[in-house]
Amino acid sequence: MSAFTFGQSNPGNLKIPNTRQPQKPQVEVPAASAKPKQTVANSETVTVTRVQTAHPLSQRISVNEAGDISIKGTTKLYVTIDDQNHVNYYYNKKGGSEGGASVVSFQVNKNVADEIRKVAVPQKRAKANPNLPEIADPTKSNSAFGLPANYIDKLEKGAVKGTGKVETPK
């Protein structure tokens, strides 16, 4: 439990390494069976990240051993696109690994991210636009979104296979 009073700044003081993706991320593409993994430069993907916690509604994205992701549920999924500072901020706020938080990330085709940014509406407009992404926590990030079911589906389909990972930075 944490308490805030008006105007109080983020009390989290844990530090985690900045793992911002390079401008042109190197995406590991698993090759067939016994062949060595291929690594290809890919400027057509972006990093989607979600901080997940022990909260009963939080564990939405899972990553299997092959690095493929699956997303559970159809209610709004809150993710951050290419904003490692926001991820660090929220991970620390949730107590980091000691607090049971983890950082789930994967690469997604850039066109999916571009569409989300283009059509997203302020959260206040959600009633009028239930099928559009909403802009989340805009003073903390310009790239955090709540995705409705149709965009969760696009995200899942646009995810680059084998790029999912779960991290618990110290």
Partner: protein
């Protein structure tokens, strides 16, 4: 007839309670409606920029002492009567995430994805990230909780 409650749940509306003058009233609303201070939360938002006829919360962007009743009026459409709605059948206990207590100026949020408990009307309020069920009288806990 369409099941509006289920439709709203499917559209990610969230369940919570407003306490005002010792009365507990329940609402199922989108996350934005639970945020008390939108001037702090989303300072660039200007209602005049939107011409589609949709008005957010009667344009009450910060819920302060002088507009509490207007706020309650604005969210009337989202009120849930827990004596007539089958709370357990809808699973509303799973998404019971907020308590706005205007009497004690305390805002409890258990919304894990955004720290909306930070966006308070003024310095006289206290915001906490915690399970609001802990702060509810037993008579309501029995009706809301799934167990």
């Amino acid at each position: 007839m369409a099941d509006t409650i289920q439709e709203n749940i499917d559209n990610s509306y969230l369940f919570g309670c407003v306490k005002y003058k010792e009365n507990y009233t329940f609402y199922l609303m989108p996350i934005a409606y639970w945020i008390l201070n939108h001037i702090a939360y989303d300072p660039t938002y200007n209602p005049d920029d939107w011409k589609d006829g949709f008005i957010f919360r009667d344009n009450i962007l910060n819920v302060e002492d002088d507009n509490i009743e207007l706020f309650i009026q604005a969210i009337e459409v989202d009120k849930i009567d827990i004596d007539t709605v089958n709370v357990k059948e809808y699973g509303l206990g799973n998404i019971f995430l907020f308590l706005i207590d205007f009497d004690s100026k305390t805002f409890i949020s258990y919304f894990d994805d955004i720290s909306i408990e930070e966006y308070l009307p003024n310095e006289s309020w206290i915001g906490k990230f915690d399970d609001p069920i802990k702060y509810m009288p037993k008579e309501f806990v029995d009706k809301i909780s799934n167990s």
